[in-house]
């Protein structure tokens, strides 16, 4: 909307007096386009200013701008000649207004490099504004001159209005408003001032007031130009009364069919209406069509209107008429008088350039757009897209970031999706740790998007999401991207995202087989085998006929085969791998699995062949090399494994973490198993440990989360490989101190490793540490976990560790009950692995030790039955040691000499068996006798008590009877009642007594003493009985050490003994409590008696 004209003069003709009485009448409705005649007339006639202005105004109204300007200029010349400049102010005002009118159709900004809409030869708006300003100044100067010379002041309002209009055009709203208000102060119905004020109010979004003023204008002059209905319509539109708005514009158009503003507004309204998703397709097309027509028409009427150009441009962009669209966009840019419009122009120009493939231009346009409006979503997205296209991913992220970040956060899902995706993708020059952060940020952004969508979905009850949101929510690729981002962090989230993606994919009718496959894998990893199988099978079905069916189905079939393997269906797995290999003979993964299957059933030479075949075709496949390393280590081909690992590290990848760990392991084991005790050998050993440590270190540097390397280092620490194992000698006390410390350190690491390696080895290692710390209960607990949960009781070393721990515990606690599980585990191990004579030796050892231990215990702490049993065992052990000592095999895993010593020792020990049996028999006999005697005493005491009681009762009874007899005479009835009552009472008491007596019988007196004496006696023996195996580590501890008699008196021992005593007391709490309970029973009986 523009204010276009001067106030409309009233008369339709004008009379000019020429010198004498001649009057020429100029018909204003019929002006000649050439003003020469009129000019002459005016000059000759020495006309008053108002005539000049009137005529000029009239020319202007007719569109003869140049003529009007000419008349005005001539008027100035003419008046100046006459020295009558003071009255020129209306002329200046007129000229100023003409300049302002020119400025309206002048470009605001001239693109120096416009391609279609070249305006370089045009005068920009600003120049016109400047001229207008200087003219206004001239006008006010002449007005003040006029004032001074006493001439009648031409209406101040003209000056104010002109200034106001100029201020409005240059967006000095406050000043403009003041100017208009000044006019209205004197002339409240000045339409121009009112329109100006209304416009300012509209621009300030004060719609209701603006509307009021527009309506006031309309009431004053229904034919007012410019049409206030346009303003009314705009106000209604902004007040969300679209029907009234439309009606206003339609009326305006009715009155003036060439009103381009009304045309444009109606056109836009129509185009907008066509976007309503609830309308029928036909209606929408209709709306779009008519809207387009209206906009086109508007543009034709006013080609210099940025708004019309902008609207039309969008239409051409949609149509794909890029050349015309670009011209219109450039027009919009050059003529836009608001920032919004300018930005839109830039964006459209950018879009067109983008579509044409002129990325440089597009980038420039989008940059200009974002410079003007940094928070414009489309501009930012456009620029980001260009930056992506130019490979400036960092720039794109920056652009979107500044759009989405404070201040003034823009909520644009589209931009957020792009930003998240950008952040989540790798880009050059970014470190891995930065990438991790970026991925975390991307996840955060996606989370926000999903949440927003959920909220929107919740809000839009029933009507569903908006089209844009829906298309984001249903973007399968976005969900895939989310899934990918969570892959390394949280598989649950990955599964969730993939399931979303799958749902979307299913909506389209065909589930994407790759998606199904991935979901299968995720369930597979989660050990949900049957679900995984379901997904794989579905994927396989869906993959039939898909575009790269062959590759997809191969992968899926492989996965399916892995499921079969994990479900124990080896035959099916084997078939699947064979099928795969018949199709793709070079598919080494399948071949590796075949080898693994063979290895599982110990067919190692065949497995070996397969791996070698694979290696010959893909010698640089690191996975394959890793498997071969594993295979060689598993099949005890350590030498080959070592060579192979070093080849891998040397020739293929010196940063291969798997190979580094394997190298660490091999070095460690080699050094550890070295039996060379010469100084050279010790040095060699130390070097081996050192190298092992270095390899593990390297692996950890490359992958700080490598649990295997951490575990390897923890073993080094636990076994003090660089210290005592390397032959660094230290005093006993120091060593023990260090062992406690290093095992503690190692345990800390194992506890962490346990989180990530789901494997028995960690628990075994923890068991070893606890064992080394003499914490046998904890050792047993760890070994149990390893053996039961991970090895299903089939792992002989684990069973032997359990045996050893129970044995050590039994020896430490001098506990016969603990030695039984030791024997049991040894037997279980031998049952599984009957050819291991070391276990048999251990069994004999445990049997002999059992007897030794019970022999050392006081009779009160053992039973004849147990004693008999251990004597049987020791006798059997004696035979076994004999057999072991005389074994003729070339190699035995124990010392025949020591076996023989054991045999002899057993013989000696067993000589005392009769003494022990006799002592035990005697003791148990005595105990029994004492028990019996005590029982007897107690029984007699009871009897005595009872007799006394009875006597007492009888006395009472007699007394009662006596009393009764005395009273019977007096009161027959009462006496009888009394007697009965007493009888009942005594009956009850009689019943009670015998019961008590019986209870007492079962208990022995003085049983509380049993605990003390024997304990003291035992202490002396403890030292001797403490056996400690020398072997450490995973190797099935071949033999229990025989060094137990050679006791090293160290500080540690004393400490240990104290601990042990504590333990003993703990063990004893069971039986003691029982005794307490018993004596309590006795006590309570006495109480009863006392009561009685």
């Amino acid at each position: 909307m523009d204010i276009d004209d001067e106030p409309v003069p009233t008369g339709r003709s004008i009379d000019i007096e020429l010198g004498s009485q001649e009057v020429i009448t100029i018909d204003l409705d019929n002006l000649d386009s050439n003003p020469e005649d009129v000019l002459e007339l005016l000059r000759d006639g020495q006309c008053k200013v108002w005539v000049w202005t009137k005529l000029a105004g009239e020319y202007w109204r007719r569109g003869y701008h140049d003529a009007a300007e000419q008349i005005a200029n001539n008027a100035i010349a003419s008046f100046k000649m006459n020295g009558n400049t003071a009255s020129l102010s209306p002329i200046y005002a007129l000229l100023a207004n003409i300049q302002l009118a020119h400025s309206r159709s002048a470009p605001k900004l001239i693109l120096p490099n416009a391609r279609e809409d070249i305006m370089t030869n045009q005068k920009p708006k600003e120049e016109y504004h400047k001229e207008a300003a200087s003219l206004i100044n001239a006008a006010s100067k002449s007005a003040s001159d006029a004032n001074q010379s006493g001439e009648p002041a031409v209406g101040m309002e003209l000056a104010f209005l002109t200034r106001g209009i100029q201020q409005l055009a240059t967006r000095h709203l406050d000043e403009a408003l003041r100017s208009f208000e000044d006019v209205l102060a004197t002339k409240p119905t000045n339409l121009v001032a009112l329109l100006g004020k209304a416009r300012i109010l509209y621009m300030r979004r004060n719609f209701p007031q603006a509307l009021q003023i527009f309506q006031q204008v309309l009431r004053c002059n229904p034919r007012c130009q410019p049409d206030p209905r346009i303003g009314i319509g705009l106000c209604f539109w902004s007040l969300n009364n679209k029907t009234k708005a439309k009606a206003a514009w339609e009326r305006s158009l009715e009155l003036d069919p060439s009103n381009w503003t009304a045309l444009l507004l109606l056109g836009l309204e129509s185009v907008n209406a066509s976007k309503d998703g609830h309308l029928k397709e036909k209606d929408r097309t209709q709306f779009l069509f008519s809207g387009t027509k209206l906009i086109e028409k508007a543009f034709h009427v006013n080609q210099k209107s940025a708004s019309a150009a902008n609207a039309l441009c969008e239409i051409f962009v949609q149509k794909g008429a890029f050349k015309r669209a670009l011209k219109l966009a450039e027009r919009t840019i050059q003529f836009a008088d608001t920032l919004t419009l300018l930005t839109e122009g830039y964006i459209r120009a950018g879009r067109v350039s983008h579509a044409e493939g002129n990325f440089l231009a597009a980038t420039r346009y989008f940059s200009s757009a974002t410079e003007g409006q940094p928070k414009h979503v489309l501009a930012a997205i456009g620029l980001a897209q260009m930056q992506m296209n130019n490979g400036e991913l960092g720039g794109a992220i920056n652009t979107l970031d500044s759009l989405l970040q404070a201040p003034n956060v823009q909520k644009s899902l589209e931009a957020t999706v792009i930003l998240a995706s950008l952040r989540g993708s790798p880009r050059p020059g970014i470190s891995s740790s930065e990438m991790t952060q970026e991925r975390a940020r991307a996840r955060e952004l996606f989370d926000r998007i999903v949440k927003t969508l959920e909220i929107e979905d919740g809000k839009a009850n029933g009507s569903g999401l908006s089209k844009a949101s829906r298309s984001i929510g249903e973007d399968m690729n976005m969900h895939l991207e989310i899934a990918r981002l969570w892959q390394d962090v949280n598989l649950d989230r990955t599964t969730k995202a993939l399931q979303e993606a799958l749902q979307i994919s299913q909506l389209s009718g065909i589930a994407e087989p790759r998606l199904l496959n991935n979901l299968g894998s995720l369930h597979h990893l989660d050990s949900k085998l049957s679900e995984a199988q379901g997904f794989y099978e579905a994927a396989l079905t869906q993959s039939i006929g898909s575009e790269n069916n062959e590759t997809i189905s191969t992968t899926i079939l492989y996965n399916l085969a892995r499921i079969y393997e994990d479900q124990g269906e080896e035959e099916k797995a084997k078939d699947a791998y064979e099928k795969l290999l018949s199709r793709h003979p070079e598919y080494v993964d399948a071949k590796i699995r075949q080898a693994q299957l063979l290895h599982n059933v110990n067919r190692n030479s065949e497995a070996h062949e397969l791996v070698k075949e694979s290696l010959s075709s893909q010698s640089n496949n690191l996975n394959l090399r890793a498997f071969y390393t594993y295979f060689l280590i598993q099949t005890n081909l350590t030498k080959n494994a070592k060579d192979f690992v070093f080849t891998t590290l040397k020739d293929f990848d010196k940063h291969d973490v798997y190979s580094l760990c394997a190298a660490g392991l091999i070095h460690y084991n080699q050094a550890r198993e070295s039996r060379d005790t010469s100084s050279k050998g010790t040095e060699e050993r130390r070097r081996g440990f050192l190298r092992s440590t270095e390899f593990y270190d390297k692996a950890l540097q490359l992958d700080p989360c490598c649990a295997f390397a951490a575990q390897g280092l923890a073993i080094v620490t636990a076994e003090d490989a660089l210290g005592s194992l390397s032959g660094v000698s230290s005093s006993g006390g120091e060593e023990a101190q260090r062992r406690i410390q290093s095992t503690r350190d190692a345990l800390d690491v194992f506890a962490k490793v346990r989180e990530s390696i789901n494997d028995g080895s960690v628990y075994l290692n923890m068991g070893h540490c606890y064992y080394a710390r003499d914490e046998f209960d904890r050792a047993i607990e760890s070994y149990e976990t390893a053996s039961v949960r991970f090895y299903h009781g089939q792992n002989v070393p684990a069973l032997l560790c359990l045996c050893r721990s129970w044995y050590a515990k039994a020896m430490k606690d001098q506990s016969y009950p603990s030695i039984r599980p030791a024997l049991r585990y040894a037997q279980t191990a031998l049952h599984i692995q009957p050819n291991d004579k070391a276990i048999l030796y251990n069994i004999a050892m445990i049997q002999q030790k059992s007897a030794e231990m019970l022999f050392s215990l006081p009779p009160a702490k053992r039973t004849l039955k147990d004693l008999q049993r251990v004597i049987d065992m020791a006798q059997h052990a004696h035979r076994l040691f004999g057999a072991l000592a005389s074994d003729k095999s070339q190699q035995v895993p124990y010392s025949r000499d020591i076996a023989d010593q054991r045999r002899k020792y057993g013989e000696n020990m067993l000589r005392k068996k009769d003494d022990h049996l006799a002592a035990q028999t005697k003791y148990e006999g005595e105990t029994q006798a004492r028990l019996d005697a005590a029982r007897q005493t107690r029984f007699e005491e009871k009897r005595r008590q009872e007799a006394l009681e009875k006597e007492k009762m009888e006395t009472l009874h007699r007394e009662a009877e006596k009393l009764a007899q005395e009273r019977r005479l007096a009161r027959e009835q009462a006496r009888e009642w009394t007697r009965e009552a007493r009888m009942n009472e005594s009956d009850e008491e009689k019943e009670k007594r015998p019961k008590k007596a019986k209870k007492v019988k079962g208990d022995g007196p003085g049983s509380g003493d049993e605990g003390e004496a024997p304990k003291k006696k035992r202490r002396g023996k403890i030292k001797k009985a403490n056996g400690e195996p020398t072997e450490e580590g995973e190797e099935p501890a071949a033999v229990f050490s025989d060094e137990d008699e050679a006791e090293r008196p160290t500080k540690k021992r004393t400490k240990k003994r104290v601990v042990r005593d504590d333990d003993e007391e703990e063990v004893q709490t069971g039986p003691q409590r029982k005794k307490q309970f018993k004596s309590k029973e006795v006590l309570s009986d006495t109480d009863d008696e006392m009561e009685g």
């Binding site: 124990g568 080896e570 299903h792 089939q794 037997q827 009957p834 049997q847 057999a883 074994d887």
Partner: protein, 332 residues
């Protein structure tokens, strides 16, 4: 076809440790040996400890040995049980009189006895007064089963592989002895010629148990490789490993095997805590029974089943309980 087997009853007492061997005798008793060192005889009908109908004899159960018992062989007439302990102490027990007729310390290697390795697995000769024993070094030794000379070595045949013998078993006709090893090889000894006539190499992991078909033609092996393999001992193994059929389905070591008296069904117990019945002709599992622990031993009832029934068997496992199972009829 699917078969259902129901747990008819359990032994009224339990061994204090795992049952490592079991055998259903011709006289409808069941003999079980355990890791706790005890041997027990049970009445199949009730699950009660067996007591002879004629109570005149001083029938008694041998006291438990100090170590676990690992191998059991009952004569076809059900009158004598040969069993052996973890370290190689062999016993011969008369199941009717309760008399221990012989003990033999196979581990004693004194000069003159000729013993080199102690016995692990033992098997009575169904025809005569000898038994076979296997153990270290891959030897099969024929020993006397007479009470006076019990354990005396009669002959030793070397299998050719110096691997531990996990299981040996006489064929029902007494003509052959099968020997299985810790690396999965199965050797067939011709008793008369005292030569190994066949070697089957289909397994590469320990074979803990072998079982003969009643006609002595087929042999079923149970291996730690989770499979059972059926061999025809009349056919030379050649290069194929000699397998006639492979039975897969257990998810852990197969610990024991048996073949039904009619030769139709195989039976296996596994460390996967299940028992499976296999249709030998159809080469498929027809029944799976879930137990609570490792099933160390299984044995079919030797008496031919009634028409229409599949029969019954007994199992012993980690929980020390002897369990009787009967067919509930075929479900097709």
């Amino acid at each position: 076809m699917n078969l259902a087997f129901l747990n008819a009853h359990d032994s009224s007492e339990t061994h204090s440790d795992a049952v490592w061997g079991i055998s259903w005798t011709k006289n409808d008793t069941v003999v079980s040996i355990s890791a706790d060192g005890s041997i027990k005889q049970w009445a199949s009908s009730t699950g009660e400890p067996f007591s002879p109908s004629v109570s005149t004899t001083d029938y008694q159960v041998p006291p438990p040995h100090t170590l676990g018992l690992v191998s059991l062989s009952v004569s076809p007439d059900g009158r004598r049980a040969l069993y052996n302990s973890l370290e190689g102490l062999s016993f011969l027990w008369n199941l009717e009189t309760g008399v221990t007729e012989g003990t033999f310390e196979s581990y004693v290697k004194e000069e003159g006895t000729g013993n080199t390795e102690s016995s692990w697995s033992v098997s009575l000769n169904p025809l005569g007064s000898t038994y076979a024993s296997a153990g270290g070094h891959g030897n099969l030794t024929i020993r006397s089963a007479e009470s006076e000379t019990f354990g005396q070595k009669i002959a030793t045949v070397h299998s050719g592989r110096n691997k531990f013998g996990m299981c040996c078993s006489y064929s029902p006709d007494g003509k052959r002895i099968a020997l299985s090893s810790e690396i999965g090889h199965v050797f067939i000894l011709d008793v008369e010629s005292q030569t190994f006539v066949n070697t089957f190499t289909s397994h590469a992991m320990s074979v803990r148990s072998v079982a003969w078909s009643p006609d002595s033609n087929l042999l079923l092996s149970a291996s730690e490789d989770r499979r059972l393999i059926l061999y025809d001992v009349r056919v030379s193994s050649g290069n194929s490993g000699g397998a006639v059929a492979t039975f897969s389905g257990h998810s852990s070591w197969v610990l024991c095997a048996d073949i039904s008296p009619d030769g139709r069904f195989g039976l296996s117990g596994s460390a996967d805590k299940s028992i499976k019945v296999w249709d030998i002709a159809a080469r498929a599992a027809v029944s799976t029974v879930q137990d609570t622990g490792e099933v160390w031993s299984v044995s079919w009832r030797p008496r031919a089943p009634a028409v229409g029934s599949v029969g019954a068997f007994v199992s012993g496992g980690e929980d020390g309980v002897v369990k009787w199972w009967t067919s509930a009829g075929a479900v097709v």
